[in-house]
Symmetry: C2
Subunit: 208 residues, 2 copies
């Protein structure tokens, strides 16, 4: 008998706690999250949690950064090594990326930025610098590449990369708010890209 009451697992604890915290923050946001619940979900006492994370705030930041950091680099990487035409890139890797984001953990980060960003401005800055600005710049550069190669005509889209990711945003917000109500997000994204490419390739300039 004399079951061991716990194991010492110095290495794994931070990750396990962060993982549990991700779930809890994801569901309740920062203010609504309970540190006790995080500890419980991580199968750990609250005291231990505070041994690895000084404050709730720090835990929150750690959790968000954990998700952000690896994310964008992957896509950036995939581009810079790519030799596809602009259209191929939009229809291929970018479409894929936008389709899976609403299902991924990044969705949660977006939710947290919206709900708690105003009280964690440094997190917003970090998100901006390491994800948003890079991602948008990437898209702009793709469009520009298409324009200068003669593939696309010159449009306002070059300066409005937000237009490209718009369906991803809708799909993400939809999943957050209307999780149960169905929406074919893949089709949403691919139709939008279809529309976009068609617009960028149209020869004669449209009226107005």
């Amino acid at each position: 008998m004399a079951e061991t009451r716990y194991q010492r697992r110095k290495e794994e604890r931070p990750d396990e706690i962060a993982e549990a915290a991700f779930d809890v923050f994801s569901e309740h946001g920062y203010a609504g999250a309970r540190v006790d619940e995080v500890a419980r979900k991580a199968g750990v006492s609250k005291g231990l949690l505070y041994l690895y994370f000084k404050t709730k705030e720090e835990l929150f930041k750690a959790v968000v950064m954990r998700v952000i950091s690896p994310r964008m680099d992957a896509l950036i990487e995939r581009l810079s090594t790519s030799e596809q035409s602009a259209e191929e890139f939009l229809r291929g890797p970018l479409t894929q990326f936008m389709q899976q984001l609403p299902r991924s953990r990044a969705r949660v980060v977006i939710k947290l930025m919206i709900s708690d960003g105003s009280r964690h401005p440094d997190l917003v800055d970090f998100y901006w610098e390491s994800v948003a600005s890079k991602g948008l710049a990437l898209i702009s550069s793709i469009i520009e590449r298409g324009v200068s190669s003669g593939e696309f005509r010159k449009t306002a889209v070059s300066e409005l990369p937000q237009l490209v990711i718009a369906p991803m945003m809708v799909a993400t917000v939809w999943k957050i708010v209307f999780a149960d109500r169905s929406l074919d997000t893949d089709r949403l994204v691919s139709t939008h890209i279809d529309m976009l490419v068609s617009y960028l390739k149209t020869e004669r300039s449209k009226t107005r």
Copy 2:
């Protein structure tokens, strides 16, 4: 001397309190909002607040509903009495609506749906029934009208009205998260509508 310490204003109080609550919930979300702060901002004691609203929860719902209710009806109204072509409607009233929403109070409702919707499912239902579903149905019907009049070709857009409002969503989220970083939301919306109309009017079907 003998300054009157307060005035009795039975009629106006609920609105004034709801107004203050709107600001506070808007800034902090449901869990982060403090009832004391609402009372303070409304220039009222907490006791009085609880005379008009039974719980924080009820106050929250009242606030959200106050903003939702009048909103959609206005647009629906404007449509049913309109005799414009589909394109005119998209470029006119709808563009206008989508341009001003990110600046309006409705933006706050969207934020609250995202951040606190999961813990107030009945509010989400209410929002769905009185705003989202109606608005999307409206847009679908406009597209359909254009299709059946021969103005537009048949595309997936008819079944994906979310595609039409996508730039509004981006603009709204942008304002919430990156308030300080500039974005020409009007141009975002109008360019998108331009793109959309162009797509809907293109004669020859695109490859793929």
